[in-house]
Amino acid sequence: MRRLVRRASQRWRRSAQTRVVVSTMVGSAVAVILLSTLLIGQVGRGLVSARTRAALVTAQSGIVKVEDEISPAPISQGQAPSVESRLQTIAKELSDAGQVGNQYQILLVRADGSGTTYATAGTRPVDVPPDLQRQLDRSGLAYSYVHGTTDRLVVGGVIDTTLGDFRLYHFFPLSSEQSTLSLVRRTTAIVGGLLVLLLPLIVYLVLRQVVRPVREAARTAERLALGDLEERMHVRGEDELAQLATTFNSMAVALQKQIRQLEDLSRVQRRFVADVTHELRTPITTVRMAADVLHEARTDFPLAAARSAELLQNELGRFERLLSELLEISRYDAGDAQVDTEPTELVALTHRVVDAVRPLAERKGSDLVVHGRAPVVAEIDHVRIERVVRNLVVNAIEHGEGRPVEIRVAADDRCVAVTVRDSGVGLRPGEDQLVFTRFWRGDPSRARSTGGTGLGLAIAREDARAHGGALEAWGAPGRGAVFRLTLPLRPGEELLGSALPLGPERTRA
């Protein structure tokens, strides 16, 4: 039930069409109810008032007829029964006339309620509403409505005779008005119901003409945004919507052109970097070997030449590292870096790295401490990840000011994480991002003892990303820095968090 409500509200929010159609339905229903109430009221009142006017005329003439009949005769005590019988005769005549076409019924009674002079079958004195009787006490003619299985209009008149007051009532059945009115009601209900159904349908159909191209435009725009630059809208007809489609398409063409140009440009540039780096390798190999041969033989050289051979040798090493890292990063830029993954145990990998860089750490006076309980297994490219971890550890040693470097390895059910923490100078605000910038140097005045190329962390971050993982940094001045590598258990799986925290070291209780 709740899901149904949620789905409905979602539909309401997301679809203008649904909103308009539902609004139309509610609006037209309200309008139809109001209008039909008004209509039925008017028709009812009109019918009744017409009938009332006619009824009053009929009743009046009936009264006059009765009065005419009895007034010319001399009134005397002895004739009393004959007056009564004449009244009965006239009433019967009237009643017979009224029975033709069931126009009305007659009731003639004494005003004091002492007896009924005449009554058409089916009419009784109790049918006369009391308020009508009261009205007749004040005026000569009055009418009232009686509701029942068949509504009736009762018109009463006062007839004065020497024998006392009589009251003549005409009962006009309103059955034909009632049936007319109910016909009107039925018709109104049917028409109204149809309107309530048809209007939203019409609105829906009209709207669809508008909404469909808009939806198509939205879908097309979405696909364009996702990178499908060939996507276009269909142009139908010449109306505003066709114009929208045309404009949309020309926008897409312009966009595609721009993107292609940019792509071409960056492709050319990346290709160039890759080619240059690649072409450099063969001569560098020759130079490297020549330098090595010279270096081996330097003891036979004069002092200046011997020192030159040493410098050549050392600087070539730096040059080579730079070249190979440039090549690596240009491979990432060109998008043809390949990641070969296989299940790898990360605690052993970390120990391997730590063992390899221990000589450097000893030179710097930093202790390397590894925390992590094997097995921590993930599907990774171990060559790349080993490089990342080595980079982080070397970096920590270099900036660790001779204080211990702490390396943690952990896993949860979704990812593995390695953090490398140093207690060195730390990072200033904003530097946690800058450190990953190519050729960025934290402190230009610092001695470059290990000869980092300035590309290491940039490559490391690319390596992490190539696995669908993340490499992040945290640091504060004087509180050291932490680098955290997080990798999904299998490449491409979504990362939702990390198995290890990134931030200042928690003070132990």
Binding site: R281, M289, R331, V377
Partner: protein, 234 residues
Amino acid sequence: MPPARPTTARVLVVDDDPALAEMLGIVLRGEGFEPAFVSDGDAALGAFRREKPDVVLLDLMLPGTDGIEVCRQIRAESGVPIVMLTAKGDTDDVVRGLESGADDYLVKPFKPKELVARVRARLRSHDTEPETLTIGPPEDAVTIDVPGHVVSRIDAAILLTPLEFDLLLALARRPKTVFTREVLLEQVWGYRHAADTRLVNVHVQRLRAKVERDPEHPTVVLTVRGIGYKAGPG
């Protein structure tokens, strides 16, 4: 008796860059090898037949027939150790090179010491003590005549390159041991530091293609998932 190795090993250098080729020559001569040169892929096979080298250094980027093809041609008629030189460290080229028969590779730029170490590793002389080992299921075992460099199964000889022979021998010598790829890299290829484990993967595949009845279901060289390889049967 195994054929006596000549005192100076001959190295055929197939490289189109004259400066690099000359430098390779200087370094190789300095280490007591006898280099020969060819600069064109089309001429490489002829030079190989003429020079009968003990090791081939093969640049993958060559004019004419490319290095991969040269490698295939040489491998088709000889098990001679081939070390390829590549300017690309890319997986594709390395794997293609290894699959076409190269035993090992060097990524430019390399140091002279690395070059010499790679060449030496491929020329290591083996024990000449008479020794025969078996590997695989007892009812269908593969026999290794160590000094004779002959591998056979029910008297049918299996032709292996020296590297494949070394790989099989390493596994057969310690049949109860599981070898990690890193250990095999050190024992068979002579790498001291962690190197490219794809070398092992590719050559195990090649070895299996020759010694297994059904390479899809190996019984001689078994994979130990997540660790490495060991000699069969399990």
